[in-house]
Subunit: 677 residues, 3 copies
């Protein structure tokens, strides 16, 4: 949908499964799609069993009919390859296609995302199907994107994966001695003498559960397994992509990601995708910043290039514990939130609600009632008309930000696998806290990986940079030395790429940049060990939680210090002048007020300016490009929120025009989209 | 015990395991039984290993002795077939007899209820043993009932069950196309091309646990597995029953059920049993209505025919988390509760407390102390004397009720397997709430299945009728049209027999009867999403919980409407005139006060009258028959409760005689049993 | 370390793993050890893979170097045999060495303590390694102890263990009839006809989990499995010990135990060890009495002989949920606590912090920083100097106590396996409550097993003596008859050695001694069933929790009685004069105030005198021997605690001298060690 000549507006549509319905329904669907201004459908997501009834037969009769129908009705197609769930006969005949669970339980046919990524059977038949689809439908003009498989994920612990893991390790480490070194196998008598000694780290070997949290005895092997598993699944994607590219080089290829999904290192994935697409399912009542952060992470996977909102529910999800309805206006609000963060589409799961199996109580544009007289259909139609009016104005523009937040899957894995110092260590939560502070201050922020080019930013925030991988410290050193501002926090700089501690004093490779030495860290139980721990920054007390570093200044100056316990008076927030820049360090977890106080100071120093003046219930982002500068304003509050503009412009949705400094009174759940003067 | 010519009073006794004791103890048992007026014993419940030490040997020496002894002592016998736990040698030699757990773990010898229902070994040896017992003991005059196996239950996921499941499906659906239709396998590429593609739905295939609750990807297969498993186990019962009937047609056959036990569709079971018997083990401190409801469900399995209380503890259970003693008087109270709801027996587990293994801390009539000088023995003896005095007066009479509550295992299974709209969906809880309201208002109520004849009732309550099976809507339509009153509630009418949604608008097949269209349903988190949701009915506010239907009137009139959220003002309680009758609908879960207010109105309309005027701590039921009309009054309170009689009579327990309109002052935990004038 | 001619002071050191480090680090270690006055290292704990790279090769090159180095540096060695984790090649080649989990999951290579105790492979190679080590290093003068394996524990459910279990049973019970008797297999048709019918009691057979607690259907087999498993692992220890003793009879053999560790019957282990050693890891914020009790249990395993503190953390553990730092002074305080309770060593895990795998965030004497300028190193050094000054003064002295508490693994296992009367039954908690009362009253107390000689004590406390094993009642009877005082509590005397109930009335064999008959016991839910249960003792009300015995006096007199429920007025605390002594009984669980009131009375009667007058935050113990009488005073409070001395003496740490009756003002976390006049 991105960079396809036929895409000339924000695409509006979603997953459509007519094969689950009798043909007499199809005509009615076409009528309703027109009413709602639907212009794109994702087809063929789960049809493998129908397309390939046995080993040698392929049957495209019904898909041909469907493709003809949608073409006749002027709909663009995002065409899926149907490889996210294999047919039952394949599982029966070739059990190697089935996954094995972490406890060694071999799975049988069932569910979806059920294929072992290292199964020869899977690879053979999945690429064959992709090829047939490309050959058959690749020349249709309305196919605007390939949608490989669906929500790739999970993990497998079968014998094929074990063999593949050994190959992967051998390729990475060359010698068994190097393997022993990076996994520190001298510990607990784990020395390997042969690649075949290595078994997968799972509940049968190195891993175990405590209080619902997975732990491991050997961080090195567990971390490498996660990398291997992400790579194995990525190989499946790449295999199909290569087939598709070979036959239809003109059609961009994507797969729908899942936001902050821990099992796959999406930074590696982003590099292999023609454009990013993802499925957004915020929980009812969740902080809007969570979804904003997921959008921002997704955008960062491909250097800020516009992405596709591939799925969202028009009304209700079926798999939440309590499936609350999206309140009136919220579906529209969330749709614009996607655009605000860089999406060029608004797409739903799904077009018509199924009648059997586990998603039948998930909303659809067309409900079980089957007609247009529903609240959900009316809201979809209103949005469809609005997007029709909007046209291509914002298409291809990019979100603007001078601040970057570092988010890295290796860090996420390594910190959550760590044995100590605290079960409360939560990488995603830590990064989220810093994101929320910046975003609710209306400072534009990107989220990038450690391979990103930082030169365009004036502020880089790397919270809990537990694993400072080879070279990244040098990148940060250069960034600060040349005038950038860095912010980091506790549990940073401990280990290198293989989770081996950098000896000599924490935070290891970051020590000179931050100008501190962390001697010890005190883990606090949630209720604060009977004492609420605090520190004082600029005369105000803030809570200290999770971990308190006990540190010594080595060039930095203390901006705040602990109030309690035997480390009262020790520094809690520091700043180090380094080259032309500065490096801040927050030695504990605190609350939003602290982060905002700190960023207020830093923003002043760095020349970062808020996009607008408004409460933290208002989201503001700026997209810009050849077509202009577009300010998105989203009011998540249930009441009117005033927004003071820095610069005026025309509201493309309401039609009003605002002058510089005007105050927009944004209604509850309402949106404004200003083309700035 | 029911319909056996030798049964002339309320049978009093229970499970007796003399084979666990040296013979010198037996004589003492006989002495103590006489003291306590014991007149029936259940023998041979767990003796398979003793009776059949190997494949070809049967040894009845000890059982002969026991049978002789109890006969000489004038005791009637409920003779069990001992097939609820197979011998160790059988498990070692024929592992097919062992069950497999949901996660694929093959069991080994141990526990009880341990045989796979589809094991050829089990079926062969279980029927052989039943036959030998029938031939050997069937002519004894004091054998008043056969007790097949014991507390049938559980489930098995072994290869034999998988094969049997395919046979069961083939028989039910004839073609694989029909199977694909009813399971909606077009979803997620699940199309089956061969019966052998089908695997059992378990943790290896379609099911998974979330927060301790089992979920499934395919409701259809999971629902059918539950039906299949219940049928498989029922087949084991029927197999033994047929053997016993063939040899001893004069002895009625039963098996002891377990009240509201989810795994077996007891309505199907009831049809195969000569009389219902069940084991009642209310928890300490539990609402007495739970046990009352279980009694009522049990009675309803065989159209109100008197049943047998087969087991209860005389003092304490051993398997509760905290095994509190039954307080003085409570054992008597619970015994009369059984009679009040239709039992014709009072029986215990067990007569003498065992000294080893897991039930040794479960009470018995004869305690470890071994003598009669215990509180429990004294209470048992007092009750034995009372029942002796009571004689056969109430025997065979039937509980009277003009209101029926619908309870259906398919609905229970289907609603709890549903993916959405809420984890709080609780079919048993919903039915219980309506039962409690009716029962504590002292309105007689039956609980029946969807196959029941409704013509004798003036009120039918069908809460959460999620699955409205083929034909049942027509039965309800006729019932209301002809003047009956129907009450239903939220999450009703969604699906047909295979959990496929009835499209066109909820509540599907019930829509015309109820005169409403439910467009959407909002699931509320337990704490009410930050807002306590309420609705107003007749000027009073009541809580709205779990699910709030957003509905439109299609003929019905609103009796109450929501107070909050974006659906404030929409109807929450409706009434539809339909034919000569009326259909009420409660669109959310509320509290007892609402249900009672509603039933007060409906009772007036239907001519239902409370049996007595008394607090909700007093239970009242009426049994009637050729022998007269008997009013049971049970005071569950710890203080005196006044009960205003509508009609007087003689108290068969206290001896007093009461006139119409008298007020009986019922002592704490006390009971009155009036033969009404 | 104990009874070795070269040990002349409190040994100070700990686990040292130089093989994990390059040799250039070793020299630095030696320098730092000298600074800190380290004089002993435990070597070779996890080096099997390094020492034996394949089936026939042994390579001691590096260990030779290490041994030479530590010898040159004057360090004593506690030499481990490295058998606590087998090599990867061994697991691959001989899978019988791997354990099987309770659910039947066969383990693969990984973790530690990973060998099946009944694996022929394990036994063959473990004893071979022990032999090689003994032959190679046994003549080195500085080897002061053998450290067999490491923290033995866990359990295995593999086919080899199943076979061994049958052999163990056959040896114990001789005939299958006797097996059937003691397991009461008449229950639930469990009669065994052949030893091969017996399968291990696990999740596949007799055991199951409810709410995270393991339950069993057959207490007898589950109890015997625990005995068997403890014996199997003990056999592994004995096998290595025998090899070592044969070659180096002059070096004492130990293995590091783990305090109150449920899986191993340490009383049986103690008999096989030359001296006791153990690893102490109290949680942050835990009551100091827990650790005091563990020390006391450990001391009691070998009749009070001094033991070794083999491991403690100098700063932080890595495996707690929240790894709080040991506050300043606490490491010293805990070190003296070990000495106070009978240790003759202070040893750490570990000397240098590892850089990879799961213990890298566990403290060490030498931190990742790698130098001496850390708080932890400074505290270690200060303590090292203090112990150097102390010399051998306290070495070999024994803790003095006239009161004994009974602690028995069979009781722990049997009571926690019991089905009923309450999930709140907690043997360790019950014993701890009595220990805490005695210990905080500063009355010396030992903890001993049922095989101990009681003749030296004036008070024996046997709380919750659920299983009164054959002969132990007679030992208690004699003890009381001859003038001793016994205290017991609820849930006592129920069963004999095989968990078979002693019929005739609880508390069975203890009934005559205690002079009571317990007719029933009422289990109370934690919140007290809506009513807070209490009893009155000497005019004061105390809480009654967990279980309330309903008992009758049979010679005893009531000292207190229940206040509530239908058993109000029944005795709750009794005293029975028996021979020249007395037997007290507490019929329920209460709070510390009750236990202290009771012990105050009993102490008066028995002539027990508190060592000092001080608050319950002060710990006081007395060690005595040829070298004198030493009073240890430990202040666990965060503030100054006054301690009134009965007898004066010189403080060996502070240097001050105190007179009889003086009040010592002990600083927060401070310690005094007085050589009494």
């Amino acid at each position: 949908m991105i960079e396809h000549k036929r895409v000339k507006k924000v695409l509006f549509g979603g997953d459509y499964n007519p094969e689950q319905w009798p043909e007499e329904i199809w005509k009615e669907d076409m009528r309703l799609f027109k009413l709602a201004r639907i212009d794109v459908v994702t087809l063929n997501v789960f049809s493998w069993a129908a397309l390939q009834p046995d080993e040698t037969t392929y049957d495209f009769t019904k898909l041909d009919k469907i493709m003809d129908m949608v073409q006749e009705n002027g709909l663009k197609v995002c065409l899926a390859t149907s490889t996210a769930a294999h047919p039952a006969w394949m599982a029966r005949k070739y059990p190697d296609i089935l996954r094995t669970e972490q406890n060694g339980m071999a799975r049988r046919f069932g569910a979806r995302h059920n294929s072992c990524p290292n199964s020869p059977t899977y690879r053979k038949y999945a690429s064959a199907l992709a090829e047939k689809l490309a050959l058959r439908y690749g020349s249709r003009e309305n196919v605007v994107a390939w949608h490989v498989s669906n929500e790739f994920g999970g993990a497998c612990y079968c014998p094929n994966c074990q063999k593949a893991f050994r190959v992967w390790l051998r390729k990475k480490y060359k010698t068994i001695d190097e393997l022993n070194r990076v996994w520190n196998t001298g510990f607990w008598s784990h020395t390997f003498y042969d690649w075949d000694d290595v078994v997968l780290p799972d509940l049968r070997s190195e891993e175990f559960g405590v209080d619902g949290r997975l732990r491991t005895n050997f961080q090195g092997i567990s971390l490498d397994y996660r990398r291997f598993n992400s790579d194995s699944i990525l190989d499946c994607y790449k295999m199909e992509r290569d087939v598709l590219r070979r036959i239809t080089p003109h059609i961009p290829v994507t797969t729908n990601l899942m936001g902050c999904y821990q099992s796959l290192d999406y930074h590696k994935w982003g590099r292999e995708m023609d454009f990013i697409s993802w499925d957004s399912y915020p929980s009812f009542g969740a902080d809007y910043c969570q979804n904003a952060m997921a959008h921002t992470v997704m955008r960062g996977l491909k250097e800020g290039k516009p992405f596709a909102l591939m799925e969202q529910t028009p009304g209700v999800s079926n798999w939440h514990t309590y499936c609350a309805l999206k309140r009136p206006g919220v579906m529209r609000l969330y749709s614009y939130q996607a655009l605000a963060h860089g999406s060029d589409t608004v797409m739903f799961f799904q077009m018509r609600r199924s009648i059997g199996a586990c998603e039948k109580y998930h909303s659809a544009v067309i409900d079980h009632a089957g007609h247009e007289n529903t609240r959900v259909f009316r809201e979809v139609t209103a949005l469809g008309r609005e997007l029709e009016t909007l046209g291509d104005q914002t298409l291809g523009t990019r979100v603007q930000a001078k601040a970057a937040l570092i988010f890295d899957w290796d860090n996420w894995w390594a910190s959550s696998l760590s044995a100590g110092p605290s079960d409360a260590i939560d990488y995603l939560g830590e990064v989220s806290a810093y994101f929320r502070a910046l975003h609710t201050m209306h400072l534009g922020v990107d989220i990038v990986g450690v391979d990103a080019d930082l030169s365009g930013y004036s502020l880089v925030v790397a919270p809990m940079l537990y694993m400072c991988k080879d070279g990244f410290d040098e990148k940060l050193r250069r960034f600060v030395r040349e005038g950038g501002t860095l912010v980091s926090s506790y549990f940073s700089g401990y280990v290198e790429d293989h989770d081996l501690v950098i000896t000599g004093g924490y935070p290891g490779r970051l020590r000179d940049i931050l100008g501190i030495w962390v001697e010890e860290s005190d883990a606090l139980p949630p209720e604060g060990a009977g004492l609420r721990h605090t520190f004082t920054y600029q005369g105000k007390q803030y809570p200290a939680e999770i971990l308190c570093d006990l540190m010594h200044l080595e060039g930095a100056r203390a901006l705040g210090s602990y109030d309690n316990d035997f480390y009262a008076g020790m520094p809690a927030v520091t700043c180090n002048d380094f080259g032309k820049g500065r490096a801040y360090y927050v030695a504990t977890r605190s609350e939003e007020a602290l982060y905002q106080a700190l960023f207020a100071r830093i923003a002043g120093e760095c020349g970062l300016e808020p996009l607008v003046e408004a409460s933290n219930q208002v989201e503001a982002t700026l997209r810009a490009g050849d077509k202009g500068r577009f300010l998105f304003l989203l009011n998540h509050a249930d009441s009117v929120s005033p927004v003071k503009l820095r610069r005026g412009g025309e509201d493309l949705l309401g039609g009003k025009t605002w002058a510089d400094g005007d105050v927009v009174e944004l209604g509850p759940k309402d949106v404004a989209l200003l083309r700035l003067n």
